[in-house]
């Protein structure tokens, strides 16, 4: 594929990053990624993203599936011999709640995790070229893909917005 130019601005402080993001958006510069060593509501709000991610739909699916699995397993196995135990009805309704519930949780959790991995396309063993080791430690980063044309301006803007350093990477 064609080479892509990326400009990465590195910030040391959350509040600077946030304001930077806001300004960039005001200047209609499309931000392709924001890297941060920590989870922050502020960044999300600055990027104007909705509070709820799509992850919960995976969970919902898992939940329903789990519920059904639990009930099916319990009832199906009971029908195999229809044992009479302690005079209880062979197909239990009161007790089935418990396996149903546990499977509901289990599979819901598995799906949640699956969803999370899927949405982030991880596991992926190779990190992008523009990734900076400091992103996981003490620095924030703003990634903007640009053309030769606006590359300069973008990096200038980032500088003005207080980026410690701005680097150009070719991918």
């Amino acid at each position: 594929m064609a080479k892509k130019l990326a400009v990465v601005g590195i910030f040391a402080y959350l509040n600077e990053l946030v304001s930077a993001i806001e300004d960039l958006r005001r200047q209609k510069v499309s931000i392709d990624a924001v890297y941060s060593p920590l989870r922050s509501e502020q960044i999300r709000e600055a990027l104007g993203e909705p509070i709820l991610g799509p992850g919960r739909f995976f969970t919902l699916t898992g939940a329903v599936l789990g519920l059904l699995t639990g009930m099916f397993l319990a009832w199906y196995t009971e029908t195999q011999w229809m044992f009479d135990i302690g005079g209880k009805p062979a197909i239990g309704i009161v007790p089935v709640v418990i396996p149903a519930f546990e499977f509901f949780i289990l599979i819901a959790v598995l799906f949640t995790l699956g969803g999370f991995l899927f949405l982030n396309r991880i596991p992926s063993m190779r990190l992008p070229a523009h990734y900076d080791k400091r992103f996981s430690q003490d620095r924030f980063g703003i990634l903007v893909y640009c053309t030769e044309a606006n590359c300069e301006s973008v990096s200038r803007i980032l500088k003005n917005l207080g980026a410690e350093e701005v680097s150009r990477i070719e991918e």
Partner: protein
């Protein structure tokens, strides 16, 4: 395999052993050892064959059927046609197989070498040695140099023994020794009835019974027979219930069945008897007495006004009076006395008193039948044994032969019979297993066990049981008769013993007898007798009138509390009889009916007294009399009155095989050396025990968790008064039962749906008014279901494996106890079933609570959630030594470690019955079969059947007003339904 040297034998053992574990599964090894006595066509693998024979565990001589599978006896049951057992067996009878398979039996003939050890020899050699010794003895000339001491034997073997002796030129060299020889009883019968004999009693004809310490449900004379009679005498029939009073110093199993137990100071029972007589005479309650008799009796009891009698016996005079009134009021009352000199003092006096009491009611004398007197009559008296001992000491005896007797153990230690034996130059033993007496023998020529032998035994006039070899010899043994014959021939030559072997002799003997009895065809007679297990011609209807001699007997002045210490009661137990069964692993494992103790003897003492003396359960005590001392653990329990000590007979062996040896303790070692000149019995003085703590402890392996019910009587063992029972019956009230049937469903309390059964709903009824607590059911269950034997150390950790138990609870006043036969209740709503994670226990379509061993992996939740606590867990893979394994029932799995097990209602029997029924093209009918426990119950307290069949006995019985269920409030709907014991308030 008579000609098999010990080594090969061992090899075979190995193979057979491995086979014996995997019986039934077609493992070829099992076939190596199919005994070859019965004709081959009888041995059909997988098919059981029953042979009739006779139980020789005690002199009662019950008829048995031995169940032979692949040439091994796996179970014995009572012989239904035998007049003594009538299809039942007692605990000991059930356990007899452990005598046959006793791992400590002699493996073959042996000779004592210079180091005192026994070397194996061949039979030829053994018999040669014996013959030579005998010839030597005969050479000395003069009779009485050769003595054979056997147990009570009758018929052919007795005949042969005496013939053999006389051929050897010996007179009265045959001595029949039995520890329980009833000298006192015989004496008393002579005094009162003019008959020096042990009669036959007929309890079933009575309406009132008073027993002076006679444990007729345990060991006395013929306990099984008496239990059966008792079952038609005592339990409620119709509206009424006969009264049974027990007078004695200990709440024995028998006493606990009584409506009234008059606790006495040991040895003062006669006083109570005299008091009763006196009361009856004073109140003129015995009109039909010839004047002079009356006068004679009055003179005898003149010194015994009720108050004095009561004071002597230490009981309430009112009791004596009311008993007197009851006795006199009854139509056919009877008084019996134990008459065993070893147990309590004044046995003779008590017996005389009892007999005198009987004479006051001539009507009931026919219940005492001397016409078919018991063979015990012929047992040697103690004085005869004493005389023998003296002759042995004075070297008058050269050859002494023992067969199946153990006097060294059962005679008073003070006699020092062992020393006497040692002074005999040559002692041989024919006993099948090691015991204290055989241990002193120079030559061991082991004889067959009863199951391996031909023979006959007659417990009393008119009844003879036949023995036949129901399996091949387990060890390299020989029939006593054959030993005698071959040695006899060696000495006196063929012609003097004109028979091939003992079988020949037996037939010869019976040809004679049958001819005398006027029987035409001997062969038919023989065939039938062997088949049905014996010969019992029709009894002559009534017992002949007794001609009563003028009574004269002087009763001792009641000696006031002589000296300090606790008066001692010695008593035989239903498990051990006289201790000859102590190496029967089962017998050790079965809890005693009253104390619930296993594996080892104990000294019973009232908790109050124990407290005073600072004795705790399990303290090992050193117990002394003037004549001996033993070490025995204390057991504070309410079976004895305050200030009395009691010790059971049977334990305390020191050379009796692996299971019995070393367990405390033998009370015979405490008895005195003297003879009672009146009765010719061992003299039994007061024996006030001096008790001191050794500081050691010997833990008591009891199976009961508590003496009492802690206010839960209604949940477990409710009783009902006769009045109440009659009232309910009259008013047509139904018992409140949660039927294990569709009918048991109640919308208002049942979450779970109705239970429906199509073909069968197996259930059991336990009639606690019939149950005498003997534990025969337990024994039957052990042998039927291969219940594991855990031995003492596991017993102490509460890990016994019994599937059915007879639970004993003392009443709140601790004056008596109740029994509860507890087994799996096969509930409709079984709490044990639903907790299992893998369906190992579940409910069968026939209502059984199945436990699938192979499916069980041992979470033990079922047992935890089982309110009846009838489930057993295999803590280890419990094994049993060769050849005990041979007894295992091929129809029942042997369980592995980590598996839960429990009563299956003998499901294999159910299946067998169903198969047979199917082959007959019908359903199983009530009575087609029954479970092992119900089969053997002497009083038929256990009844098994299907509740679906409205006509079955169980279906009828569960509507009895006495019916109840254990822990009914748990709504488990048990299929074991109990009938309350009926209590009669004796107005005092």
């Amino acid at each position: 395999m008579p000609d098999l040297c010990r080594r090969d034998f061992l090899k075979l053992f190995g193979i057979a052993g491995s086979g014996a574990v995997l019986y039934g599964c077609g493992e070829p090894a099992t076939r190596y050892l199919i005994p070859y006595i019965n004709p081959p066509e009888d041995v059909v693998p997988g098919k059981a064959v029953y042979y009739a024979t006779t139980c020789r565990e005690c002199p009662a001589g019950c008829g048995m059927l031995a169940k032979n599978r692949e040439g091994r006896i796996v179970k014995v049951e009572g012989n239904p046609s035998h007049p003594v057992s009538r299809g039942k067996l007692c605990l000991r009878g059930q356990a007899s197989l452990h005598g046959l398979y006793n791992p400590d039996r002699f493996w073959g003939p042996m000779q004592r070498n210079v180091y005192g050890a026994l070397d194996p020899i061949t039979w030829e050699r053994g018999e040669a040695i014996l013959a030579e010794k005998l010839s030597a003895a005969m050479a000395k000339g003069g009779g009485g140099r050769i003595v054979i001491v056997t147990g009570l034997v009758t018929g052919a073997i007795k005949d042969l023994t005496e013939m053999w002796l006389s051929e050897m030129g010996q007179e009265n060299g045959h001595i029949m020794y039995e520890p329980w020889s009833y000298e006192s009883l015989k004496k008393a019968n002579q005094v009162v009835f003019g008959r020096d004999a042990v009669p036959q009693y007929r309890f079933d004809e009575l309406d009132f019974l008073i027993s002076f310490n006679a444990g007729f449900l345990e060991t006395w004379i013929s306990n099984l027979e008496f239990a059966r009679q008792y079952a038609s005498f005592h339990p409620i029939s119709g509206e009424s219930k006969n009264v049974f009073v027990f007078v004695g110093p200990r709440l024995s199993m028998t006493a606990n069945n009584a409506d009234l137990w008059i606790a006495t100071r040991p040895g003062t029972e006669y006083a109570v008897g005299l008091g009763i007589i006196r009361a009856i005479l004073d109140k003129k309650l015995a009109p039909d007495q010839p004047a002079e008799r009356r006068a004679a009796i009055e003179s005898m009891v003149s010194a015994w006004p009720v108050e004095r009698a009561a004071a002597t016996a230490g009981c309430d005079p009112k009791l004596i009076e009311s008993v007197a009134r009851l006795f006199a009021g009854a139509a056919r009352p009877l008084a019996i006395a134990e008459g065993l000199p070893q147990c309590v003092p004044n046995a003779t006096e008590t017996a005389v008193a009892a007999n005198l009491l009987c004479t006051l009611k001539p009507a009931s004398l026919s219940a005492i039948d001397f016409s078919c007197e018991s063979s015990r009559t012929y047992v040697a008296r103690a004085d005869a044994i004493k005389a023998l001992a003296d002759r042995m000491r004075s070297r008058e005896i050269d050859v002494l032969i023992f067969q199946g007797v153990n006097p060294v153990f059962s005679l008073p230690k003070a006699w020092d019979f062992a020393a006497a034996i040692k002074s005999v130059p040559f002692v041989a033993t024919f006993s099948p297993a090691i015991d204290e007496t055989s241990a002193l023998a120079h030559l061991v020529l082991p004889s067959h066990y009863s199951f391996e032998s031909w023979g006959d035994y007659s417990p009393g006039k008119g009844v003879t049981g036949f023995l036949q070899p129901v399996m091949g010899p387990v060890f390299n043994t020989k029939h006593t008769g054959d030993i005698l014959i071959s040695t006899g021939k060696k000495i006196k030559g063929e012609e003097s013993f004109p028979f091939r072997d003992f079988y020949d002799a037996l037939q010869g003997y019976w040809t004679r007898i049958s001819a005398e009895a006027g029987i035409k065809s001997f062969d038919d007679f023989w065939q039938n007798s062997i088949m049905q297990g014996g010969y019992w011609p029709e009894q002559t209807a009534k017992a002949p009138e007794l001609s009563l001699p003028a009574p004269s007997f002087n009763f001792p002045e009641s000696e006031q509390e002589t000296g300090t210490g606790l008066p001692l009661v010695v008593y035989p137990t239903v498990q051990f009889y006289d201790g000859r069964m102590a190496n029967h692993l089962w017998v050790q494992e079965f809890p005693d009916p009253m104390t619930q103790v296993t594996w080892g003897g104990w000294l019973e003492i009232h908790p109050e007294t124990a407290g005073k003396l600072g004795l705790k359960k399990g303290d090992l005590l050193r117990v002394k009399t003037d004549y001996g001392a033993i070490e025995i653990p204390a057991l504070p329990i309410y079976t004895v009155p305050e200030g009395v000590a009691a010790i059971p007979v049977g334990q305390g062996h020191w050379n009796f095989g692996r299971f019995a040896t070393g367990l405390p303790a033998n009370p015979f070692e405490l008895l005195g050396p003297d003879l009672d000149l009146v009765s010719g019995a061992t003299l039994r003085p007061g024996l006030n025990l001096k008790i001191e703590k050794t500081g050691k402890t010997f833990d008591i392996a009891n199976t009961d968790g508590s003496f009492f019910l802690h206010g839960r009587e209604e949940d477990f063992v409710p009783v009902i008064s006769l009045e109440e029972r009659n009232r309910m019956a009259a008013s047509g009230e139904k018992p409140y039962i949660d039927y294990p049937l569709p009918a048991g469903y109640q919308e208002s309390k049942d979450f779970y749906p109705r239970h429906t059964y199509s073909d069968y709903r197996w259930a059991m009824v336990v009639d606690l008014d019939r149950c005498i607590g003997c534990g025969a059911c337990v024994a039957a269950c052990y042998s039927e279901n291969n219940v594991a034997l855990v031995k003492r150390d596991q017993m102490l950790r509460g890990r016994e494996m019994s599937w059915i138990r007879v639970q004993r609870y003392f009443n709140e006043d601790a004056k008596g106890a109740r029994w509860l036969v507890m087994l799996c209740q096969h509930c409709d709503n079984a709490p044990c079933e639903y907790v299992c994670p893998i369906f190992a226990p579940h409910h069968s379509e026939e209502g059984l609570n199945n436990q699938v061993y192979n499916r069980c992996f041992g979470t033990r939740f079922c047992s935890q959630n089982d309110p009846y606590k009838v489930r057993r867990f295999n803590w280890y893979t419990f094994t049993r030594p060769e050849p005990l394994k041979w007894q295992l029932n091929p129809d029942v799995t042997v369980r592995q470690k980590g598996v839960m097990e429990k009563c299956s209602f003998c499901v294999h029997r159910i299946i067998e019955a169903k198969l047979e029924a199917t082959m007959k093209g019908r359903k199983v009918r009530d009575g087609d079969f029954t479970t092992a426990c119900a089969q053997t119950c002497p009083t038929e307290a256990l009844i098994f059947g299907s509740l679906v069949d409205p006509e079955s006995r169980v279906s009828k019985l569960i509507n009895d007003v006495r019916a109840y269920q254990v822990l009914q409030h748990l709504n488990t709907k048990p299929a074991v339904i109990y009938l309350k014991r009926v209590i009669e308030e004796l107005r005092v």
